[in-house]
Amino acid sequence: MKVEDVVCPFCGCLCDDLVVEVEGARVVSVENGCTLANEKFLGDHRLKAPIRKTDRAWEQVSYDEAIDETVGILLDADRPLLYGWSGTHGEAQSVGVHLGEILGALIDNTSTVCHGPSIMAIQEVGHPGCTLGQVKNRADVVVYWGTNPIDAHPRHMSRYTTFADGFFLSDAFRERKVIVVDVRRTESAQVADEFVKIDAGGDYAVLAALRAIVRGKRSLIPTSVSGVSREQLFRMADTLLGAKFVAIFFGLGLTMSQGKYKNIRNAIELTAELNRHTKCTISPMRGHWNVYGSNEVFTWISGYPYAVDFSRGIAFYNPGETTSIDVLRRGECDACLVVASDPGAHFPKACAEHLARIPTVQIDPHVNATTHLARLQIPVAVTGIDAEGTAYRMDGVPIRTRKLFCGTYPSDTDVLTKIYDRVKEEKKHG
């Protein structure tokens, strides 16, 4: 059976035009997908049943036993951390936040190690953005800064920017100018009209120089700023000022390099400044397909996009204090529930070590690095393949992922709801 307009649950592009062929409870082919999508749909090596770590090996346990044990661990903990959430649907994220609320837990999503700094910058200066279709239909200048879409978001350029048709451009590919700013000549830089190579850690200074130029202070610019010549800076600024619609996209090259959220703040302020002259928008290249959904769901329930601490009864947020890395680094948490992400692969060693010391439970379809740190793993259906639910694209557009076949695994929502109901019941009586 062929299913059309399938939504890809891999990256923040959330492409929704895949054609997937299904035979029974198996995907056999994928059309329109990028390599990452194909791997996600076809290379699906699932964990068969819940597993528990014993002294020397893993043993299979039933779902009921696994849920019992998880509930016990969470209730027993003084400072539980509920981490992950970016690889599951919004309905499960919602149960997760409510679980955090009744446990008095700390709940955090993967923004903490990706666009957390972008959120902090937005909280200082706001976010002039737009949906991706605005870029596709209007942008004549596209800037990729500290991001390499060809590798990380392979269809971003063809669906939304460089190679996409646009209503207000008669020959979009030729009319659009692409500028890539990075510390190395990436694949994306190869297709750019202008590649701006900056010294590692030099983003803040280059952004500041561009702001100065846009504000008419060209005479202040030295001959070179962080490895970028004055001539190139002038040329880039002129391109931005001469455009009808500038779309800036930025990635972890900007959020996680020296300067962190101050880089983003500077980029946003450049965007705001450019709006006094032309139209300009800026957008983070979100990684996980539903990381933005976790920010949205956390926000409408708790008020904050990530790093929410319910231990005082109210929702409390202070990045640097209530962010997972910091809490784990301080050795503060005494239990962790990981849902739909892989901190074992992404966190610093000290944090991973702490996860291995405390009872860590992972809810995830696949064996990954975190499995090796966990005491218990509960496999679930993969959202977008055998489970459905809401996802938010990197620009905030919500799309419902599809369930392509009925498998045997429960969804994240099923498992989390059972845990939530049990915890609620215990809390009532306890």
Binding site: E4, D5, V7, D16, D17, S94, H98, E101, I102, I119, I122, Q123, E124, V125, G126, H127, P128, G129, C130, T131, L132, G133, Q134, K136, N137, R138, R159, Y160, D165, G166, F167, F168, K244, F245, A272, N275, R276, T278, K279, T281, N295, E296, T299, W300, I301, S302, G303, Y304, P305, F310, R312, G313, I314, A315, Y317, T390, G396, V397, P398, I399
Partner: protein, 566 residues
């Protein structure tokens, strides 16, 4: 069968013609009935003011831009937070509370139905998700059409039927309730950083004017027989001298519907400015009220500004950018492909700012100068003029000249030169307040037929009982009691069940979402229309099949079906 009997209630039910009588209200299975059985649970209202549940006909509580207001404002989240308690979830936020925060605070004020003022169709799913997390109010969504390409093309082609078809397809697809136009044409122009400055400016590329968009949509709305009229946020919001645009817009409204207004103009305070700059801005509320008084085909809401901190958020992207240029505070913007835009900035309305004082006065003047309270609804355009928790204070100001005079002493002393407020003697009575906070809304939205806004047998048992005894209280003098009373009900009853009591929410709640579906003839069905489908394939970034909001997002959807008159 769950039965409830509210005894000794001092009832004002304007839609039923009840202007203040002590009576009993019987409820069975969520509806008002003639009599209750002997086993009914009894609530003794002890002569307290009892009204149909409050209805807010224009508020921003759910959806993409509201949530972004929260997302970008941890300082606002910190400014209003409560712990999890009983059935109540944690809440955060003052001007943009979390969904549960909105729901609980509205509920304890007696509000049971809310209309979200602006939903971008492409992002409708988000609004519906938040609706589900706003459990104590039935929800409706104004659906944005101000920059809709298919609409503007239909307007350009003078194809009224096509415009109606686009509206019908879209409302059904996104489970929207009514047509909203926010700065029509301006949001499309903002896609390239431009705006329109009068209702006769041409929208770039599309070659149509705001006036043509408004007129076509008014007529399309009536073809589809939608319960509500077109809901308009006029062009030139917040611009000194904009009262001319507003008057010109009102002047062009035909009278096409005998049951309700033909055009609803929202937050009119922001559209009633004289002068030409911020230095000589003045109130033109008298001109606007005169126009409204002579035209039963229009209804307005106040858009009252109250002093203090709040967050402004609107689909009117270019206006928010102008505000940003004034305030230099943080600014967010979010344009939505083929449809609309939006912007957000935090503001602080100060008694020390003459402009803010003039704005404050204009809202009150509109309410006091509009003769018929059915034509002017109480609102702050929450949270743009003020958070909705200020409603009780606004009610008190409208009911007490003494309170207004007291306030005037705190304002910029020049205020009186620019506004007529302090010469107005009118003090609204309990009946007029009941009209302006629920009955007029139900009529304007066209939802009396599904049992909203009144207490006649058959109506939904949504009831607010306030700790106020109208016979024993002089609102002109005891305005503080009025304010306290409207701030916290003794009981809020939603669909026959007590949901809030003395400021505490007592059940988890389960709301409905009300949407409209026009039963269109096949020739108006766009789902297979070549041009329309092509638009999705070429210019949207979401496939047409992934665009409609699935039923699963409306666990208790209530669909109002309409018949089309061609």
């Amino acid at each position: 069968m769950a039965e409830l009997l509210v005894k000794n209630a001092f009832v004002i039910d304007p839609l039923s013609g009840i202007r203040g009588e002590i009576m009993d209200i019987a409820i069975r299975d969520g509806k008002i009935v003639e009599d209750a059985g002997a086993n009914a649970e009894v609530i003794d209202a002890q002569g307290c003011l009892t009204l149909p549940g409050g209805i807010d006909s224009h508020t921003h509580v759910c959806g993409t831009k509201v949530n972004f207001g929260r997302y970008m404002s941890p300082e606002d989240m910190r400014a209003g937070r409560t712990q999890r308690k009983g059935v109540m979830h944690v809440t955060s936020g003052y001007s943009v509370p979390t969904t549960f925060g909105n729901s609980y605070r509205y509920s304890t004020m007696g509000y049971t139905t809310l209309l979200e003022g602006a939903m971008a169709p492409l992002e409708a799913r988000h609004t519906h998700e938040e609706f589900t997390a706003t459990p104590h109010q039935d929800m409706l969504a104004n659906t944005l059409f101000d920059g809709n390409w298919s609409i503007m093309e239909a307007v350009r082609d003078k194809d009224l039927k096509r415009a109606a078809a686009v509206v019908a397809w879209t409302l059904a697809a996104v489970k929207g309730f009514a047509i909203k136009l926010t700065n029509p044409g301006g949001t499309e122009a903002w896609g390239f950083g431009e705006d329109v400055h009068s209702i006769h400016d041409l929208v770039p590329h599309f070659g149509v004017t705001p006036a043509e968009i408004i007129e076509t949509m008014i007529r399309a709305n009536e073809i589809l027989n939608l319960p509500h009229s077109v809901h308009l946020h006029c062009n030139n919001l917040g611009v000194p001298g904009n009262f001319r645009t507003t008057l010109e817009t009102i002047d062009r409204v035909p009278d096409l519907n005998s049951r309700r207004q033909t055009l609803y103009l929202t937050h009119v305070q922001f559209h009633a400015y004289g002068g030409s700059t911020w230095k000589d801005i003045s109130s033109k509320s008298e001109d606007i009220a005169r126009a409204v008084n002579s035209r039963p085909q229009v209804a307005i809401d106040m858009g009252q500004v109250m002093f203090g901190r709040t967050t402004t958020m609107t689909a009117d992207g270019p206006m928010e950018f102008k505000l940003y240029m004034l305030h230099h505070n943080k600014w967010s913007n979010h344009d939505v492909e083929l449809e609309t835009g939006s912007g957000i900035i935090p503001v602080f309305y100060s008694r020390k700012s003459l402009v803010n004082c003039v704005m404050w006065a204009i809202g009150l003047e509109l309410a006091l100068l509009t003769r018929d309270p059915w034509q002017c609804m109480l609102s702050t355009d929450n949270p743009n003029g003020a958070p909705f928790v200020k409603y009780p204070e606004i009610i008190a100001l409208l009911m007490s000249r003494r309170f207004r005079d007291r306030e005037s002493e705190l304002l910029d002393p020049r205020t009186g030169h620019y506004v007529p407020l302090f010469a107005i003697e009118r003090e609204l009575d309990w009946y007029e307040i009941a009209v302006m906070t629920r009955a007029a809304q139900a009529k304007a939205l066209g939802i009396t037929g599904i049992g909203k806004g009144h207490l006649a047998p058959g109506a939904q048992a949504d009831i607010a009982i306030y700790p106020l005894k109208p016979g024993e209280l002089d609102p002109a003098a005891e305005y503080k009691q009025v304010m306290a009373g409207f701030g916290k009900t003794r009981f809020t009853i939603k669909r026959g069940r007590v949901v809030a009591r003395d400021g505490e929410v007592v059940v988890e709640g389960a709301n409905s979402t009300i949407w409209t579906k026009a039963n269109i003839p096949p020739e108006l069905d766009l789902s297979a229309d070549r041009e329309f489908v092509k638009k999705f394939e070429q210019y949207y970034t979401v496939r047409m099949s992934n665009y409609p909001v699935q039923d699963v997002y409306l666990p208790r959807g209530v669909c109002i079906g309409t018949e089309v008159s061609l």
